[in-house]
Symmetry: C2
Subunit: 401 residues, 2 copies
């Protein structure tokens, strides 16, 4: 492990290197906008993509390739989503991957492509191809990768963990980008995770799917995804150890570690939501079912009225219950109990007296927690959102121009 | 007809009178907040209510009573939604209706109740009961009714039409309140419509349901309704003429006139959306089905990214296609053609060159029209939204306090 810094995210695990350059995709921007992460050997890959019917060209290409279960490199650009770009867009995504394959001695099929940025504008391919020629991978460039995929994000989002699994130390690390309000229909979410664990492809996929459902999907409403959303994990096995698969000794540990990485990255995305001042955690218990709990938690976290109330430090708990009420999940207001942190606002349908100035104070903290018990069953879920401020409007009104 | 002004909305039709007082429900407010509209004879009634599971007490009460098909009066208050107020809330709604019944010599069941405002706070019943005592109905108070139901609305919304149906002149008029961004989960929508036509109760209901689906439901996403949304129509038959019912000569004319009233009121609500500068009309054609067209049109009109792009006068058409893509309706980007007014932005999946400064100019007009043809079938729909500005955040961050 040695020289690899765990703080590097996608290059924390052994055998992974990254590189990033600024190739000028977005006029006037000086940040790096083209990046690659690659493994020194073929890796197993699992991926989850947007359900949007206008899926971007790189999504169409990468979805097909990830289905093979193997990949060696991921190339990503920001500043242009290569979405709604027709047949030319698909060709451009292929050409991007071919250029990366050629530069690093891989076959085209080993390269996945991710893009994020403005929709409907053709990729400036000469700039991108020239940029690919200049990529010089190193194990210290994980933060550069995280920087290059940013759009309106204000900071890099990286995280990695180290665990002893199957007799060896393995690392799982990743980078993510969010920006946007994330929900209901906001900016692209990208997550790239790498690990040096040896993981059987099908198990890698089911682990990722479970983790994404509890994390990235709890900050982004199903079906309300951007044209480019993608989360993927590459497992290159460089740490050695026994193969991790369904039912093996290390399975549980690996899944939990992957969930840790996804949880941290997902919460970082929300914390850095456009114009956000705080992270709002919505804890739902006592729901009729687990899926009801998820629906209700997400509905509350996505409510513009809840988000603006928190921004205004206004303990307007009616908006929380209203959002629960239209979520589609079962709700009986007379059985509902709601807390803001440790302040009980509502008990079994009746509003409670509370210290308003303390509630206001709690709403001004960096983490605001609402706990809603529905009193109907055992379903539980947690979702995350952020407050909604003037800056959200400013950022999104000025995005392309 | 004579003395009745058609500009009075709910009192445009014969036999209807209204009254409004300021009873002080919301501290510091000086606008009228309690109002009644009543017919000089029993009327047939049809109503459509919120699907929210946390339906407010007045909704629970009025839904039950409207099922009888008869009503004589509607009492409404603003400043307090009487929602999430438990058994006491239901008792308060009953007491409100009983006081109105007593004051005007009606039976309790003849009185429907509507409330809008803050959720989770008990109604100040002494103030309301005292207010009811002071109501003095007149045929010239339709605008007062419209004023009294406003919350953050900036102006009254009233409209009425006069048509010759079945050999007599009939009027259909109404008042509405919206405020909020209307979607995805915004403030209460109330619509009260009165007519002096003689209309058979079942036909009245099916006419209202059809009109609401094409109008109020195209500015408010199904399931994403507030705790208090309600649209109702009272038909007192004071104009005489033959009974209008399914299959009768006047049926079509009546339905079309009711649709006119609902369309105008719905568009007025959007135009007066919190912080709105313009009305955005989304016209979808060529959809796989009518329901796909509706889903897609509403998804686009509700997209915060589309709304902020219009506010920023940014012809970012990718956001329009993205919102269509996650709507759940069928979409093939390569068959999609999009116009902003008469400017073609996208033809069969390919972005078109266009005059950017003219597009920007069009986005600054009071009416912004996007027309999306999906090239898949015959489904068509129209939805309305408004842009999203800093003021939206300000209004909603400051609402209760």
């Amino acid at each position: 492990m040695g020289e690899h810094g765990i703080e590097q995210g996608v290059t924390a695990a052994q055998g992974f290197a990254a590189a990033a350059v600024q190739c000028g995709i977005k006029e006037g921007s000086t940040k790096p906008d083209l990046t690659v992460v690659l493994s020194d050997r073929p890796a197993n890959v699992a991926a989850v993509f947007t359900q949007n019917r206008a899926a971007a060209a790189p999504v169409i290409l990468s979805r097909e390739r990830a289905n093979n279960g193997r990949a060696t490199a991921v190339v990503a650009n920001s500043g242009n989503a290569n979405a709604c770009t027709g047949p030319q867009g698909l060709q451009d995504a292929r050409d991007m991957s071919a250029a990366v394959a050629q530069r690093f001695g891989l076959s085209d099929d080993d390269v996945l492509v991710l893009s994020t940025g403005v929709i409907g504008v053709p990729l400036p391919m000469p700039k991108i191809l020239h940029g690919i020629d200049r990529l010089e991978p190193s194990a210290d460039a994980g933060l550069d990768f995280a920087h290059a995929i940013m759009t309106t994000d204000t900071r890099q989002k990286v995280y990695a963990v180290e665990r002893e699994i199957g007799g060896v130390n393995v690392r799982i690390g990743g980078a993510a980008k969010g920006s946007g309000m994330i929900h209901p229909n906001m900016a692209t979410l990208l997550g790239v995770i790498t690990t040096d664990a040896q993981v059987e492809p099908q198990f890698l996929h089911s682990s990722l799917k479970s983790a994404v459902d509890l994390t990235f999907n709890m900050i982004s409403i199903d079906g309300d995804t951007s044209t480019n959303d993608a989360v993927l994990v590459l497992a290159n096995g460089a740490a050695g150890g026994t193969l991790i698969g369904e039912g093996t000794a290390g399975a549980e540990l690996f899944s939990r570690a992957l969930l840790d990485v996804c949880t941290t990255l997902a919460k970082e995305i929300v914390r850095d939501g456009e114009g956000a001042h705080c992270l709002i955690e919505i804890r739902v218990t006592g729901a009729h079912s687990g899926s009801d709990a998820r629906q209700i938690a997400r509905s509350i976290s996505a409510s513009a009225l809840v988000k603006t109330a928190v921004f205004g430090a206004d303990p307007n708990w009616g908006r929380v219950l209203c959002a629960a009420g239209y979520s589609g999940g079962e709700l009986d207001p007379d059985r509902a109990t709601l807390h803001l942190d440790d302040i009980c606002l509502l008990r079994l349908g009746t509003g409670m007296p509370y210290d308003r100035s303390r509630a206001t104070e709690l709403l001004r903290q960096p983490l605001v927690t609402f706990s809603l018990d529905l009193g109907l069953g055992d379903g539980a879920a947690v979702a995350w959102g952020c407050d909604m401020s003037y800056d959200y409007v400013r950022i999104n009104a000025e995005y392309t121009t």
